[in-house]
Amino acid sequence: MSAVDNTQEPTVSFWNDPKTRSLALQALMIVVLLLVGYYLFSNAAINLAKLNKTFGYEFWPRKAGFDLSQTPIEYTSDSSYGRAIIVGFLNTLMIAVLGIMLATLIGFSVGIMRLSKNWLIAKIAMVYIETVRNIPLLLQLIVWYKVVLGPLPDNKQALNFGNVFYLSKKGLNLPSPIFGAGAWMAIVGLIIGIVGALVIRRWAISRQMTTGQMFPHLSLGILIVVLSPFAGLLVAGWPMTFDYPVAGTFGFRGGATVLPEFLAMLIGISVYTGSFIAEIVRSGIQAVSHGQTEAANALGIRAGLTTRLVIIPQALRIIIPPLASQFLNLTKNSSLGIVIGYPELVYAGGTVLNQTGKAIEIVLIWMIVYLSLSLLTSAFMNWFNSRVKLVER
């Protein structure tokens, strides 16, 4: 074999030069890709011409003529196709953001329960994780929608929770706040609260550095931030009232309604993703070597502080990257809303696609939106990850 022929000249010949080879291979690849691309696009051009269609988004401002059940911005069947897609996008965002929050809450609680010293609690958490993880999300969504929320009583016999919340097969009715003049004081209060909490934190840390005395600045800070908007409202003379839902003959008047589709989506997607997050949290905490706990004990640090100052910061580093990919999965899984009729991006786009026949255009919108959501989430998580990352020597 000439490749190992050591009598050859040490100078590399033109053909054996890895640079030439890789250049030739890449040039070949570009040519093949261009040819395949040309082939596909010429087919598409022929097919579109045959169907008397053109590529373009001229359908965007045309009248949609269909209704969407959940509209965060104003939308009627007179609105445009474009607005329908935007409404769908906002609904996707809504379920993604709320779902991520709820799933994280469930996941962290169950993950910690899984590590509980109480055998029963740990086993219940395990059964929850192993059951929910191994059943398709779509099946779970359908069950929440049709089997759990579906058989609920009608509007008239709605389950009444203290005349404030009503749950029926039409959804969850709850009071909506009405803000009067001076409600902006709540925001002012919140800002003052955040600044105040930060100041206290700074003071507490510097005092601990000098005197060693500790101060519960974290819990106090959270309390201040939570209470400050209400304090702001109080100063302004409480310009906020609630509009309570009132049962009428044809459903509820007043208040806000959460659609059953939204409820099923939110519960289903959070319960499902929560089971994955729970496993991530459990393995993250378990991955912190036991020597760390022992070292903290040896230094005389209390158990609660050991968890907060020693275990959690190290576990977070392991937890965050897979957590980010779970958040991405949840966002992508929100597209299953189409199956139970939650009007998210795929549902709205699919309806537009059916009416206009603009397959390529709609699929492109979907791909671009989901890809950019993915990229944004991973960019944010990378930034966060680099903040908590171990600073190595």
């Binding site: 890449q26 087919n43 097919n47 993880r133 099946l139 579906g150």
Partner: protein, 488 residues
Amino acid sequence: MENSLAYVRTEDAPLLAPPANMVGWRGWVMSNLFSNWKNTLLTVVAGYFLYIVLTNILSWAVFRAVWTGDNRDACAIEDAGACWPFVKAKFLQWIYGFYPIEQRWRANICFLLLAGGLIPMLMPSMPHKMWNALFLLVAFPLIALILLTGGNFSLTISSFIGVGALLAAIAAFLPLAIYGMEEGIHKAKLGIILVGLGVFVWFASFGINFGGLGSATSALLLFAGGAFGLVQLTSSGNPAARANLKLWAIVAGGLIAAMLIMKIDFGLEYVETSQWGGLLVTLVVAITGIVASLPLGILLALGRQSKMPIVKYFCVTFIEVWRGVPLITVLFMASVMLPLFLPPGTNFDKLTRALIATAIFSSAYMAEVIRGGLQAIPRGQFEAAQALGLPYWNMMNLIVLPQALKIVIPGIVNSFISLFKDTTLVAVIGLYDLLNIISAGSADALWASSQTPATGYFTAALMFWVFCFSMSRYSQYVEHRLNTGHKR
């Protein structure tokens, strides 16, 4: 001095038995359930919760359940639990879909062959893993394809010529792989030029529409190029040449033989894919996805590690695009967009479209799983292979991939589990997979009652759970086996 002590014990005092509430089941209960008041409270609350859940499930599924009946009348009674006669009546349909009843033995044979191939594959102690894998990845899909559809595909002569020309084109480049670039180019020059000309004529004939003439010329050129390469190899006594020639002959022979087998009329009745359904479709989609994604995923993972920027960025883009979008949009794409990009007149059935979508989608995920394995192989392995003078593909085939693929077996099983669960999404393009057929069955007027959907979905959940849970246990078992102490 020695008498100053009144009493000195000369032997150890006997050990006292531990307190009764520290050992045995009582000790276990005390330390695990009631160690302090907080724990006791938790146990009581959790126990009550468990009691409520379990009694409700048991009461629904067993005590209040309806066990016999022929139609909805049996189940549509006051306060009824699960409607089990519904499951009994529909179960075979959930397995086979609308596959003709007298043809179901064909699906049964496929299930048996799959089990027969898979079980020894999963048992680490069974020998002949290579033959086993070949059966599962090559022979089984072919047999299943013919059995399930009925075979007798109308493959034209030109499709044989097309595949033959492709094989010939590969043969023309074989000398390069054996003699190295310089000598190889020298020997295979004529063959490569002929192949290049053939490819050029083929593409040119598309644009200018030469029709059959262009394709025929191009096929002739390709065959001539391939023949030239083969002559170069057979005439040399080089053992490497003979080995490569053998491999090429096996692949070429196998491909042509497979096409011939697909063309043979076995006298099986043709069963349209629209008649398939239930577990059959779920398994077909999941297994095709995973079988197709293995080779594609390996190529993409290797490409992503490549030092050639164009290869690398092509693979990165491909992987990230498909991983960044939900499977539902990929399915929609295959269903409504793919036909637009194919030559006018080509038409796939729904199942094929779903298979294409899942294959592309899962290959992107598989590529990332395999990349994890490649990155876990120590750099020294690559360097040792290079120091021995192994060319790239030999280094990968002989040294790196065998090790990398072995560590990613749990990852492959895990991605199979998520693919298996994701197959439920094919319902959105109108296929009747296990979940969709159960949904459809629950709406059957003959059986409709308030408990029918719940019973159907409960059974579906149970079936999916059994499959996924056993696979996840298997993956944990392999992980444990592979974890031989030198984990990094």
